[in-house]
Amino acid sequence: MSDPMEFLLWAKGPMFDWALAIFALGMLARIAEILMLGRKPNLAEPRGGEWGPGLRTIITRSVADPGTFQRAAFNVTVGWIWHLGFLVVLLLFIPHIELINSVLGLRWPGLPNPVVDAVSAVTIAALIASLVHRLTHPVKKRISTVEDYLVWTVTFLPLLTGYLAYHRMINPYPLALGLHILMVEIFLIVFPFTKLTHVFTTFIARWYNGATFGRKGVES
């Protein structure tokens, strides 16, 4: 790292374009791949609608049913904590809001820095807990692949480097910020080729679930 500023400007510059391009291309391709397949027409007499139930499930599926929560309390709780924490850090930190505003034109109020800082520390801890869980719980251990661990890593590193940069624990700052941005870029590049697609496709999946069950008169 002989020229930290050059590194930062490259990370903020051409590399960002590349990462964003790969992300957008890959993600839109995936969504098109899904939707274009369509569904065969359903000739059975419906008992209920599809659209309403589908939208409902998009929201309600975020909350585990009591039985499942009891059986998998750690899994569900840690999952909630790290997802919420990640969203808070990503969307309610003022520098991130500036970034999103510059790319998407959307803006909203943020949280004070120390609050976001505390949330990020909790999120990092929760992510580590989720990794330990994945390595030790028999089901997760059995079904996890290299991809799961890769995705964990590329999700963890932006949080870690963001924390380190905010606290100026890597010097000089352009190196720290550049590293954080680069980790985010790696996350974006890897995104469309891994289970990270769930960030977008979950909504499609939940809708289909709600729609299928709703058509049969069941709230799923």
Partner: protein, 424 residues
Amino acid sequence: MSELSLERGLAAFREEMDAPVAAFFSSCVHCGLCAQSCPFYVETGDPKYTPILKLEPFRLVWEQEFTLWGKIKGTLGLSKKVTDEMLAEWEELLYDSCTMCGRCSLVCPVGNDLQYMIRKAREGMVASGHAPEGLISAASRAVHTGSPMGLKWKTLEVQIKHVESSSGLAVPLDKEDADYLVLLSSMEIINFPEYLEAITRIFDHAGVSWTLSTACFEATNAGIQIGSKDIAAELVQRVVDAAVKLRVRNVISPECGHAYTALRWEGPNLIGKSYPFRVFHIIEVLDELRTSGRIKTEGREMDRLSMHDPCNLARKSGVIRQQRNLMDLVAGNFVDLKEHGKYQWCCGAGGGVSSNERAEELRMVAFKRKKAQIEEVEPERMVTMCATCRTQLEEGLEDFNMEVPVVGLTEMIADHLVEKKKPA
């Protein structure tokens, strides 16, 4: 003579891909919660029974042939091919340890309808020749004789005569323009003959116009169980032909789970046409009669009763309130299982598992989840509306030395009918 082959299996997998499947596989994050909703995993503790893992061969085909990344991986030689060996290994996972109960579909946090995909994956298993012997035999008997258990009309005729002499009522056969064509299940005919007498009496009491058909009496569908839309279509077509011939307005599916699913939800799509009649489960019909005041009952069962909702009826078809309304008529001491209705736990026998002799031991282990539910509530008797569930409950409770008799809801209603006063 053509043969089932890996190629045909893979082609079947490809054919089954649709937008929901693609969305589901794109969204799975390997959280493992589906395992927590599967009695086979919960009672064995063996993570190989994790629902999403059962779908791995199907997922591989999706990834390799329907995603950009999968195609890139393929050209780089990085894809794992689906082989006969893999499908052979997966046969147990897709058949012995899955009843297609759909609980995983309700629990998956990203919204995956795993049951939907299991049904589709079985198409590929069948076409590649990797389905269990027990199911093949059942399908064979169903196609050749009309009944998966090889039951013939002759045997049913004997039962009909019994019912007529016992009740003093006539069982209509091949009556044209009736309101309801009644179908039966072989399991029911053999194990629970009281069902036929029950509906004969209830329909007489309520003044319902109904009939059996000598051309087709079987509601169950071994094609659905094994997962072959071709076989399933052939079996459904028989029902449709019989119904059309008699010009009935509605068809009733008996106290069975998958028969209702097969007829009500899959049937029209299997044969490629909507029905000129409507389909109901007997419980729906009875509840409809109750609301229109055509069923008058007296007296109540006062022992502590609880209920098992057949998965295909409740979770997969939305018939949940109706059986409880009917219980209210005839039960004075009813308590629901803690997780009931759409969240109730599978008995472990549906989806073809009970026809699969190889899976008997596993089926009994899975039953322990249901047993735990029952023990939690301590009923004196269990009520249910499916012959397979009922058989599994009886066998299971007996295996575990629990003295909890199981009774069908229809017969319980019939037992409490107010007798019509005969004109003097």
